[in-house]
């Protein structure tokens, strides 16, 4: 697969990235948003690794008889980034579980509607209180 010329690899990455990004901003389901986020991040990882590749290179583990290695720095960065990604996902999932317990739904629209209903009742309460105080 190393023969895929030039920029093609980048464009695949761009496509994947956009697919993930689209899911994040267009989907109403919170779980799916997180999956989209994961997709988005994973494609950024591929971008980094792509730029660290060197044709004819070997994995950056010193072995006898090998003189060309791929760039280890992007690998290190991406290791860190993967960890960050999974940490974010875990926190997001915990939030979703709590949201589901609190609202009984994981759809953005429904939650929003519930919030609006909350606001209304709260406003009414406030108005009643003010009336009673006057």
């Amino acid at each position: 697969m190393n023969e895929i010329p030039g920029l093609f690899n980048y464009w695949v990455v761009v496509f994947l990235m956009m697919a993930g990004f689209y899911v994040v901003i267009s989907q109403g389901n919170l779980v799916k948003k997180l999956v989209g986020l994961g997709l988005f991040q994973a494609s950024v990882f591929i971008l980094y690794i792509t730029m660290g590749n060197l044709s004819g290179g070997q994995a950056p583990i010193v072995t006898e008889g090998v003189f060309i290695y791929s760039n280890p720095l992007p690998h290190v960065l991406i290791l860190t980034a993967i960890v960050v990604g999974v940490a974010t996902t875990a926190v997001g999932l915990a939030l979703i579980v709590r949201i589901h317990e609190a609202y009984g739904s994981v759809e953005e629209d429904e939650i929003h509607a519930l919030d609006m209903a909350d606001d209304d009742t709260r406003l009414q309460e406030g108005a009643e209180r003010e009336e009673s105080s006057e």
């Binding site: 070997q58 994995a59 583990i61 072995t63």
Partner: protein, 93 residues
């Protein structure tokens, strides 16, 4: 000969993917994913040898493990779904 085997594995992976897309029940998807994972292990083992990747066997071993754990996790997902059968009407016929 390795090449032929790799191609065969790739074809099988494609077939499994099609099954994963088509469904129709989640059990089929699970099966397809499991089969896909096993094929990936084989692919890495054979492909890694052919292209002389570094320490590919560690990765393959890890995959074999992850695949198994993943399948069990998926199966555990079914348990609860059956009890509150309202939402997951997917498989129950």
């Amino acid at each position: 000969m390795l090449t032929a085997a790799i191609i065969a594995i790739l074809v099988t992976m494609a077939l499994a993917l099609v099954r994963a897309f088509l469904g129709p029940t989640e059990y089929d998807r699970m099966l397809a994913a499991n089969s896909f994972g096993t094929k990936t292990v084989l692919l890495i083992a054979l492909g890694g040898h052919a292209l002389s990747w570094h320490s590919y066997l560690d990765v393959a071993l890890l995959y074999a493990m992850v695949n198994f754990v993943g399948t069990i996790a998926v199966m555990r997902f079914f348990e609860n779904r059956r009890q509150d059968g309202k939402e997951g009407a997917g498989g129950a016929s």
